[in-house]
C-alpha cells in the first residue's frame, strides 16, 4: 500500500503517546476527513494494528489505493499529449524531442495537438512576456481536465536570464505549474526527464527529489499532484 505522505517526525512522537490505536481508528471520519486521522491509520496499518472491516475501510478510503484509480492514472500518465506552445528558443528544443533521436513518443507524448481542447499537457517553452500572459491563461483555461503544466526552461520557471519590465517572472504567477525544467534551453533529455517526472506524479509516486535526500518530507506547499487541477 502506498503511503502518500510520510509523517513529520514531531507528529509521530506525539502520536505514540496517546491512547490505543484501536480507539483512534474507531473514531475515524470519511475519505476527506482529517489528514491526521488518516496518517495515524496508515501508521497503524503498517504496524499491523488494523484488521477486518477497519482494514478494508481504510484501504478503500485511501486516496490512491483503488485499483481503478491506479489504472486510470497509469493510463493518463502514459498518454500525456502536449499542446504546441512554443514561445521562444525552448520551442526549438521542444521540437527536437519529437524527432527520432530523443523520441518522446515512446513515453506517450505521441502527438503535439494544436488545439488546447485536445491536449492534456501544456509545455510552456519560452519566455512569458506581459503581452502573452493573458493569452496563455486563456489557452490553459480552454484545456479540459485533467491537465498539467510543465514550465520548460529558466524563463518559464523564473525570469530566466532576463529580469526586466517586459516579462512575467515565471509562469507560476498565473498558472499552476507541476514540473519546472531548468536549463537555457534545457537539453531534450532534460525535458524528457521532466515529462517522466510528471508521469510519476500523475501515477501517484511524486518524485520528491531533494526532499527525500534532506529528509524534508512534509514540506511541500502545493496540493495533491495526482489530483487534476480544479477537481
Amino acid at each position: 500500500m502506498d503511503v502518500r505522505r510520510t509523517k513529520l517526525p514531531s507528529q509521530a512522537r506525539v502520536a505514540s503517546g496517546e491512547g490505543s490505536s484501536q480507539a483512534r481508528v474507531a473514531s475515524a471520519e470519511g475519505p476527506d476527513g482529517d489528514f491526521r486521522i488518516r496518517q495515524l491509520r496508515a501508521r497503524d496499518l503498517l504496524r499491523g494494528d488494523l484488521s477486518g472491516p477497519d482494514l478494508e475501510a481504510h484501504v478503500e478510503q485511501s486516496v490512491l489505493t483503488t485499483t481503478f484509480e491506479r489504472a486510470v492514472n497509469w493510463a493518463r500518465s502514459n498518454a500525456l499529449w502536449p499542446a504546441t506552445f512554443g514561445l521562444a528558443c525552448c520551442a526549438i528544443e521542444m521540437m527536437s524531442i519529437v524527432t527520432a533521436r530523443y523520441d518522446s513518443a515512446r513515453f506517450g507524448a505521441e502527438v503535439f495537438r494544436a488545439s488546447p481542447r485536445q491536449a492534456d499537457m501544456l509545455i510552456l517553452s519560452g519566455r512569458v512576456s506581459i503581452k502573452m500572459a493573458p493569452v496563455i491563461r486563456r489557452i490553459y483555461d480552454q484545456m479540459l481536465e485533467p491537465k498539467w503544466v510543465i514550465a520548460m526552461g529558466a524563463c518559464a520557471s523564473s525570469a530566466g536570464v532576463f529580469n526586466n519590465y517586459a516579462l512575467v517572472a515565471g509562469a507560476d504567477k498565473f498558472l499552476p505549474v507541476d514540473v519546472h525544467v531548468p536549463g537555457c534551453p534545457p537539453r531534450p533529455e532534460s525535458l524528457i526527464h521532466g515529462i517522466l517526472k510528471l508521469q510519476r506524479q500523475v501515477q501517484g509516486h511524486p518524485d520528491l527529489g531533494w526532499r527525500t535526500r534532506y529528509q524534508a518530507e512534509g514540506t511541500e506547499e502545493l496540493g495533491d499532484p495526482t489530483v487534476p487541477h480544479g477537481a
Binding site: 506581459i130 525570469a159 529580469n163 526586466n164 519590465y165 517586459a166 516579462l167
Partner: protein, 176 residues
C-alpha cells in the same frame, strides 16, 4: 564607408542644396555620420536618396537613442546604404524634449522609405518620439494600453528583486 574627405564633400553638397540641414559631421572608426537638423530631415533624406551621385536608396535601419543626461536628449538614427558603391552613411537627427512635457516630434520618412513603417513604430513605442505623418503610429512591441516609454534612460528596468536570505522576508510578497 565614405572616408573623412568624402563625408565632408557630402556634407558640403547637402548644405548647399538644403539650407541649414547639416549641423555637424563625425567620422569615427570608419563610420561617417551626418548630424542633420530635425526640421530638415525629410529634405535631407530625399536629397541623399534621389541625387544621382549620392543614391543612398536603402534604409537599413532606423532606430532611436536616449542620450540622457546629455542634451539634446533624443537621437533618431538612419542607417543608409548605397548598394552600388557599398557605402554606408549614418544620419542622425537630435531632438530635444519639448518644454511642455509632450512628446518630441519628427517627420516620418515612410513616403521615402517604406521600410520605416515598423521601425518608426518601434521607436515611438520605446522612446515616445512621435513621427508626424506616419499612417499608423501605435505601439508595436508593448501592449497597446501600456504607459511609459521603456527604453528611455529614466524608465526603470523593472523585474523582480533578487531574494537573498538577508532580505527575503523584507521584500513584499516574497512567499509567491
Amino acid at each position: 564607408m565614405p572616408d573623412a574627405t568624402g563625408l565632408e564633400l557630402i556634407a558640403h553638397d547637402l548644405r548647399e542644396q538644403v539650407l541649414g540641414a547639416v549641423t555637424d559631421t563625425q567620422h569615427h572608426r570608419g563610420i561617417a555620420t551626418l548630424i542633420v537638423d530635425p526640421e530638415r530631415i525629410l529634405e535631407a533624406l530625399a536629397w541623399l536618396r534621389d541625387t544621382p551621385n549620392q543614391a543612398y536608396s536603402f534604409l537599413a535601419s532606423l532606430h532611436g537613442n536616449d542620450y540622457l543626461p546629455a542634451a539634446p536628449r533624443f537621437g533618431v538614427h538612419y542607417e543608409l546604404l548605397n548598394m552600388d558603391r557599398v557605402e554606408r552613411l549614418h544620419v542622425k537627427a537630435l531632438l530635444d524634449e519639448p518644454a511642455d512635457g509632450g512628446l518630441p516630434e519628427l517627420d516620418s520618412c515612410v513616403e521615402l522609405f517604406p521600410t520605416a513603417s515598423f521601425q518608426e513604430r518601434e521607436t515611438y513605442d520605446m522612446f515616445g518620439i512621435r513621427f508626424r505623418g506616419h499612417p499608423d503610429l501605435r505601439r508595436i512591441l508593448m501592449p497597446e494600453e501600456y504607459e511609459g516609454w521603456p527604453q528611455r534612460r529614466d524608465f526603470p528596468m523593472g523585474g523582480e528583486p533578487v531574494l537573498f536570505t538577508h532580505n527575503e522576508t523584507q521584500t513584499p510578497r516574497w512567499y509567491e
